[in-house]
Each structure stands twice: as structure tokens, then as C-alpha cells.
């Protein structure tokens, strides 16, 4: 394969032909979707071996997305991370503002190859929805995005972006009214419209082949980061760190480092108000194996297999499931997963903003908080790569309310004084 930016897994040890990563994965879907999901698998397999597909996708990734994405060292932020060197993989600089576009462009090309004219997708923070709406505008495809009603409120800016791009956005009012319920509703749509509709799934979960295919489209993140880091720092990192909701940006960063056994792969899950409070979405920390949205993986559920309602301040991580390959990495010991609270993530968001002039998405801020912890564990000799999966523009309303940044908040002035002291204090 001569392509530079579409770099599917060259080894193909997992998943198995049936879509299993060890004990996880598979294809738990209604009969009505079997033919369509099989078609995706066949078409992706053909595309993967077609130089024309790679050429087209490469062209888009370079000239539309702006790959390769930058690698930025953040020394002022790193002072708070025990003095370890910290580099950010800048997926926030991609067109549309997150890593999601990597997968979306690949699947949009696939949609066209399958002769389908309509695309549906779920979205949590709206990043995948915006990327999907963008690709549909580019390819002239009809587009419907399902988004939990709570998320449409906390990510209102992204709702407006999707509508500006011509997509229909449907606010889902069932269940917990977040990402999980948006996926349920997208599946219902797909079952009814599968003859002309592709479900452009946004993460490395779902039935086979989605976990492997979406991973392949994001693999470029880690391949680039590994090469850039070897050039810039002269060695492999001690840790590669990413946030995990469904797990797409994390698997994208991790995958190229899996054979490098000295590199710790650290996934940061949303602990919400704290894992002990029950108000969290830390699936690998607190879940049990089960089936959700088409595959076996760790799931937040009760003892009778009912899915429990997750919580995170981050709409993009507010999900009770996780991609099966992460469950496999956890159980095999190759990946390590830790939980990061809302508060720790928000502090990291502000810290990066004020030390480096980069406002991260709240999702990515969970990884930054994890990097502060891991950096302190590693000390001055440490070298860390963090996937900065998205930019924070969409989160400014949530952040402004959290920190009291609006003029109408009486606390603004006093709080701003306190902030400076806290950040200085942290460094000591």
C-alpha cells in the first residue's frame, strides 16, 4: 500500500474473521441489518486493497483535512506535569476541529462506492455530527444526525454548524437523552431505510466491521505521531495518552505503538462526579462485559443486564459502552485505563488554555488531566504524547458556566484572581 495517510492495520491479527478481539466484539445485530453490515464489510475489504480508494482518501486527507496534523511541545503546561516533556498531537487542527474527520471521509467514500445516497450518524459532543454533515455537503449526500436532547442543549453551537451544513438534526428524547440513545435511534432509522442509507458510525464500537474499519481510518494519528516524535524527541514516548468515550481517538493514537512494548498506552475515562458516586461513564473501570450496540465489550449495566445511565460533563464521553478493542487491550494488560473527574478535566482545560494558548475540547481535557498525573509519576525524564482530539470552541458555554466567565456572573472578577493563584500554586 503506497498511501501515506490511509494506513490500515498491516498485521491484521485482530479482529478475527468473525470480528472478535479476543473475547470481545462480534456482531449482535437484528437480521434486518445483517445484509447491510455484511455489505459494509465486503466493500471496505475491497476498498482497502484498491489503490484508487487510497489515492482518493489521501488526497482528501491532505488537501481538505490538512494532514499531517502538527505535533506541538507544551513546556509551560509540562511544568505542571512533574517536568516530563509533553507533546500534543494536534487533531484539533484538522478541518472541522477534531479527529472525527479521518473516519468520516473514509466512510463517505465507501458510501459512494456502495451507491447509497443518504447518511445517518449519531453524535454526542457534535464533533462526529459536524464532520459527517461536512462530508455529506462535500459529497452531495442527504444527511440526518441523531443527537440526545441534553447534548443538543450543551453543544448548541455544533447543532447550528450541522444545520448550516445542510444536515437534519433530530433531538432524541428517549432514555438518558444522550449519546447511547442517539445510537439507538440511528439504528431504528437504519433498519427502516437500509436500502439507500449508510450508518456512518462514529466510533470504534458497534458490530463488526465497524470497530476495525473506524480504527483503520484513525490509525494515521499514531503513525504520524510516532514518526514526528522520533524526529523531534529522538525516542519513543514513555506513555501515549488519550481520552476514551467510545474510544476512536484513543485507538487511533495507540495502535501504531502497540508493538512498542516500552510505550504505556493510557486511556482516560470520564469519572464524572467520581466513580464512587455512581455518576460517571467510566466503562472499563466500573463496567462488566455485556452486549450494547452490536458488540460484546465492557458495559455499564446492572446485575440484570439493564444499561445504566452514564454521566459526564463531556457530551462526547458520556457513553456506557466502549469499543471492543479497548476491552481486549485492558484484559490483555497492554492498555491501562484510569478515570478522570469532571473537575480534574476542567482544571486541565483551563491550564492548557492559560499556559499554551490552546483551548482543548472537554473530551481531550480528560487526557490532559491524565497526562498531568502520569507526568508526575514519570518525573523529569518522562516523555509523553497526548492526543489533543478536538478543540474547545464548542465547549465555551459549558466552560463559561463552570468557571463563571460571563459578565452576568457576579463571581467572575473574584474567580479570575483565584485562578491565577491556583495555577501558580499547582506548579510548585
Amino acid at each position: 500500500m503506497s498511501s501515506e495517510f490511509f494506513i490500515p492495520d498491516p498485521e491484521g491479527r485482530v479482529p478475527s474473521a468473525e470480528g472478535y478481539f479476543g473475547a470481545f466484539g462480534g456482531k449482535f445485530i437484528p437480521e434486518a441489518l445483517v445484509a447491510a453490515v455484511d455489505e459494509v464489510a465486503v466493500e471496505y475489504d475491497k476498498a482497502k486493497h484498491d489503490p484508487e480508494f487510497a489515492r482518493e482518501l489521501d488526497d482528501l486527507l491532505v488537501n481538505y483535512t490538512g494532514r499531517p496534523s502538527a505535533l506541538t511541545e507544551v513546556p509551560r503546561f509540562a511544568e505542571h506535569a512533574g517536568g516530563a516533556r509533553v507533546f500534543l498531537k494536534r487533531e484539533d487542527l484538522n478541518h472541522t476541529g477534531s479527529h472525527k474527520i479521518n473516519n468520516v471521509l473514509g466512510q463517505a467514500l465507501l458510501t459512494r462506492r456502495m451507491g447509497k445516497t443518504r447518511v445517518i450518524a449519531e453524535t454526542g459532543a457534535g464533533q462526529h455530527g459536524v464532520a459527517t454533515a461536512t462530508a455529506c455537503a462535500l459529497f452531495g449526500l442527504e444527511c440526518t444526525i441523531y443527537m440526545g436532547e441534553i447534548d443538543t442543549q450543551r453543544q448548541a453551537l455544533n447543532v447550528a454548524r450541522m444545520r448550516m451544513l445542510g444536515a437534519e438534526v433530530i433531538a432524541v428524547k428517549s432514555g438518558s437523552r444522550t449519546l447511547k440513545d442517539a445510537i439507538n435511534e440511528a439504528f431504528r432509522d437504519w433498519v427502516a431505510n437500509v436500502d439507500h442509507t449508510h450508518y456512518l458510525f462514529g466510533t470504534v464500537a458497534g458490530p463488526h466491521p465497524f470497530p476495525a474499519m473506524v480504527r483503520d481510518f484513525h490509525r494515521v494519528i499514531g503513525v504520524e505521531a510516532r514518526r514526528q516524535l522520533l524526529e523531534r524527541a529522538g525516542r519513543l514516548p514513555d506513555a501515549a495518552i488519550a481520552c476514551v468515550g467510545g474510544g476512536s481517538n484513543a485507538i487511533g493514537l495507540f495502535h501504531a505503538f502497540i508493538p512498542d512494548s516500552s510505550v504505556r498506552l493510557v486511556g482516560c475515562e470520564p469519572a464524572g462526579h467520581g466513580v464512587e458516586t455512581g455518576e460517571h461513564a467510566a466503562t472499563l473501570t466500573a463496567g462488566e462485559p455485556g452486549i450494547l450496540h452490536g458488540s460484546r465489550s465492557y458495559v455499564l449495566q446492572d446485575e440484570e443486564g439493564q444499561i445504566t445511565e452514564p454521566y459526564s460533563i463531556s457530551a462526547g464521553l458520556d457513553y456506557p459502552g466502549i469499543g471492543p478493542e479497548h476491552s481486549y487491550l485492558k484484559d490483555s494488560g497492554r492498555g491501562e485505563y484510569r478515570a478522570v473527574t469532571d473537575d480534574a478535566a476542567m482544571q486541565a482545560l483551563r491550564l492548557l488554555s492559560r499556559t499554551e494558548g490552546i483551548i482543548p475540547a472537554i473530551e481531550s481535557a480528560h487526557a490532559l488531566a491524565g497526562a498531568l498525573e502520569v507526568g508526575r509519576e514519570l518525573g523529569e525524564d518522562g516523555l509523553i504524547i497526548v492526543n489533543l482530539s478536538g478543540r474547545g470552541d464548542k465547549d465555551m458555554d459549558t466552560a463559561a458556566r463552570y468557571f463563571g466567565l460571563y459578565d452576568t456572573d457576579a463571581a467572575v472578577a473574584a474567580d479570575a484572581d483565584g485562578d491565577a493563584a491556583e495555577i501558580e500554586g499547582d506548579a510548585k
Binding site: 468473525e18 462480534g26 456482531k27 449482535f28 445485530i29 437484528p30 437480521e31 434486518a32 441489518l33 445483517v34 445484509a35 447491510a36 428517549s174 432514555g175 447511547k180 439507538n184 439504528f187 431504528r188 433498519v191 427502516a192 431505510n193 437500509v194 436500502d195 462488566e288 455485556g290 452486549i291 450494547l292 450496540h293 452490536g294 458495559v299 449495566q301 446485575e303 440484570e304 443486564g305 439493564q306 444499561i307 445504566t308
Partner: protein
Amino acid sequence: MSGKIQLLSDTLAAARAEGRSALIAYLPAGFPTVDGGIAAIKAVFEGGADVVEVGLPHSDPVLDGPVIQTADDIALRGGVKIADVMRTVREAYEATGKPVLVMTYWNPIDRYGVERFTAELAEAGGAGCILPDLPVQESALWREHAEKHGLATVFVVAPSSRDARLAEITEAGSGFVYAASLMGVTGTRESVGAQAQDLVRRTKATTDLPVCVGLGVSNAAQAAEVAGFADGVIVGSAFVKRMLDAPDDAAGLDAVRTLAGELAKGVRGTA
């Protein structure tokens, strides 16, 4: 005690011997309450249903439309447990002597334990299970335990199923085959698609199992139409909707009994 797969087969064969289709009703356990749900099942049997599918409510019913989602929500908020589903099956079977199946998603059973679930369902007098998100390729463990306990494994086939796949599915299934009349989730429809008849024909070419049609059927005229080409007619959302629309529980029971009576005439061509 062994499960009632034979009772299910005998019931469907008896309907066929009468020259008619069987009427199969779906109602979720725990809706509006556990006892209210049991009463509703008895009412549809009184009205003329031959078989009942008891829904085990799930938090994420991806194959159900708004009506059954609403009922599932009510049942789950009421705290329905798998033990309540087993009690529902037991009381419905013991009161009527008729076949009672469970319909649910795979995760509750996976989590509860396949052996424990199948043993308890058989002991309660259940006849089998319909598991619409457990495709045949993932079903070996389930089938091993279901067979051991005398329970039917009813697979769903869809208009999109290709002929070779139909053969694979019907080979693995038992009791009957659930043919989805259209591509979509549960819920009443104005008309039952022409796809249904074609699917029944293609399915019957692969098996001697009875083929019953579900999704979208809500009234006697539709039941009569489907009865013209299928061995059974499955009705769910229409029953649930009658209960949701009723002013009180007693009126809800009357409404489902009446609907079952109308549908029973429909499947006999006497509506």
C-alpha cells in the same frame, strides 16, 4: 420440568388443522404493573390468542418503536425484574395451559446467565424465546441450553434476508419462524407490505416449521390478509397501544380482550 416446546408446536399444528392461522400476541411483563401485565395476558388468551410472547423489558430496545418503548419504560421504572418475568410466564401458563414465550434482547440473558435463565424459564412453564438481536452465528451457546431445557429458539427473518441465509436460519431455529413483514421497528402500520408474502414463500421453501408474520399488524382486516399466506399472525404494539390509551386498568383489559377477539376472527376469515 422441561420447557413447553411441544405444546407450542401442537398449538400451531392444531390451528393449521382447523385451516386457519394462529394468533400470537405480544405484551411486555411489568406493564402497567406485574400483576396488571399478567391480567392482560390472561385477557388476550380469553379473547382468542393462541400463543403469547411476554416481553422482558430492556433499557435499550433498539428494535422497538415508540409504543413498546413507552411500555418498557413504565415497566422498568416500576422495577420489573427477571424474577417478575418468570412469575408472569408461570401464572399465564398455569391459568391457561397455553404456550407462553419470552421475547427480549440478548444482554439481559447474557448477564443473567444462559443456563440459569433457560432452566428457570423451563421450570416456569415457558415454551421458548425470541431474541431478535442474537443472530444465528452468535447463538450456539443459547441453543445448546434451550434444547437441553425443551425451549424453542424462534429466529427472526427479514425481507433483506437472502435465500441461502434463510436456510441457515431456519435450520438452526425451532418452534416457528418469525417473519418480519417489513424493514423497520415494531409499531402499527397502515398496511402490511407485499414483501411479507414473498418472504413467507421464500422461508417456507427452506423449512417445514410454521412461519408467522409480525410487525405492523394492528386490526382484523390486516390479520385476515396475513392469515391468507402465513401460519400465524403476531400482534404487539396494537395491544400495548390499547392499554396506553385506556382511561384505567380495567378498561385496558377490556380493550385488549376485545382486540384479541377481533383478531381471532380475522385469522379465521370470519371478521
